[in-house]
Amino acid sequence: MNKFSISQLYLYYDNFCALTDINIDIEDKNITAFIGPSGCGKSTFLKTLNRMNDLVDGCKVTGEVLLDGTNIYKDVDTNLLRKRVGMVFQKPNPFPMSVYDNIAYGPRAHGVKSKAMLDEIVEKSLQSAAIWDELKDRLRKPALALSGGQQQRICIARAVAVSPEVLLMDEPTSALDPISTSKIEDLVLELKEKYTIIIVTHNMQQAARVSDKTAFFLLGELIEYGNTNDIFSMPTHKKTEGYISGRFG
């Protein structure tokens, strides 16, 4: 099953073409990793999948992005789209409010008012982000007072709280220490049961450890896409091999 089906996607920042003719299918309930050197367009591509690019002045998209068969660039409510396709950012960005209010923020924005329901959502979301036990007595504490790793898991819980179908993660561990990183990696593997996950990473071992499929980007083009095992053991493209081996060696 394909969750996303993208064809002939071009993206321009004013006159600069940041993505060129991207064609890719993303599988449901799988982890897809995007790799490639800095500035190749990984974040840009990730943001086309929930139309966060709409917020950038001068950004223009052509081509087709189908989510469950519907073109998200046509007649789609962006707020509902972003509820279905959640996002975790490179730098943990909890809001300056309590842990509880952070998690309840999304559901409240979508109209959930009942206290009992919010309580339940908060507990469930924190549990699925594997941070409930750590924080259950500190729900009223400000989220900004937590460690970076905890903050990032709060952000994952916050994204999970609106029950999305897809989670986009843009280098979610690049600002974290090794222990927090491995916690988040375990978490991502668990979340795969319920969500389609796309993760951008600069860390080849991470891509190899967690992902089912890997896509390699270079200068705005999709160079190679396939099963992670195949890509890392026998890449068909010279440039892919160069990038991967350069990093591994």
Partner: protein, 277 residues
């Protein structure tokens, strides 16, 4: 090795210290001077409900000041704040209107207040036939502080990290929700700073009020009553030279009023910051 003494660095440090000391001394002198001259004359008769030429009561002026400040803020703060919100959160970058609004605001904030007074007199007092009144004065003052509030709101909003907005939009929250639940709470201290500055300007203003609100000494009956604020009261008393002492006493009350309002606003700002964290 001993650090080589640099004469220039020494000199600059000296100037900095001298400047700080001078500023402090001037301020201290000013405040002391007002207190020493005003406090002894701060008698209960100055606070009698009705002004007579005998008691020279400042009570009507005190009440007018508070009404004038509140009314001006009620008009200017929502307008200025929403204009600022529009410019930062809604308008596209490089938008023509935004540039025009910004340049206009900058120009407006540099105009001497007497010009606002003349405009207020011609427009509110004469053309709209409000007469010399608190309403005309408050509208004039709110136009005067509008650019200030707009600019501080803009700055406050710009200093809210974009990552908050991204986080909120990324959850599918709408623009209004994002602004009111995430952006504004973080910006409130900055906006309040602008409001405090505006209060200072309103309370201290005379030139823009003499021709719009008038110099009547009576207790105002409603917003169409002509009335004088404390600053105008002081200006009038000093002009009459018979009432220098009462003028200083009014100065003391003005000082207390400003300090009081400022600490109150600081208290509110602190409360907001605490809730945010």
């Amino acid at each position: 090795m001993k650090p080589i003494k640099k004469p220039l660095g020494h000199f600059l440090a000296l100037i900095t210290k001298a400047a700080a000391a001078t500023t402090f001394l001037v301020m201290a002198f000013l405040i002391l001077y007002i207190l020493i001259n005003g406090l002894p004359h701060l008698t209960p008769s100055l606070f009698e409900f009705k002004y007579t030429t005998k008691n020279v009561s400042m009570f009507p002026a005190l009440v007018s000041t508070i009404i004038m400040t509140a009314l001006s803020l009620i008009i200017a703060v929502p307008l200025g704040a929403f204009a600022g919100i529009y410019l930062v959160e809604y308008a596209k970058k490089g938008n023509r209107t935004v540039k025009v609004v910004r340049v206009t605001a900058e120009a407006l904030s540099g105009i001497p207040s007497i010009v606002y007074g003349l405009f207020g007199m011609m427009f509110f007092v004469t053309y709209l036939k409000w007469g010399n009144s608190i309403l005309a004065g408050a509208f004039t003052l709110s136009i005067m502080v509008l650019p200030l509030i707009m600019r501080t709101t803009e700055e406050a909003l710009k200093s809210v990290p974009d990552s908050y907005r991204e986080g909120s939009f990324g959850l599918g929250a709408g623009r209004l929700h994002t602004i009111f639940k995430v952006v504004l709470p973080s910006a409130v201290p900055g906006i309040l700073a602008g409001v405090i500055l505006s209060i200072g300007r309103i309370i201290g203003e005379t030139a823009a009020l003499i021709y719009t609100a008038g110099t009547v000494t009576e207790m105002p009956q409603n917003v169409f009553s002509s009335a004088r604020t404390l600053s105008v009261h002081m200006w009038a008393l000093t002009g009459e030279s018979l009432h220098k002492n009462e003028s200083y006493a009014a100065g003391v009350v003005l000082l207390i009023l400003v300090v009081g309002i400022n600490s109150f606003s600081a208290f509110i700002a602190k409360k907001f910051i605490k809730e945010g964290k």
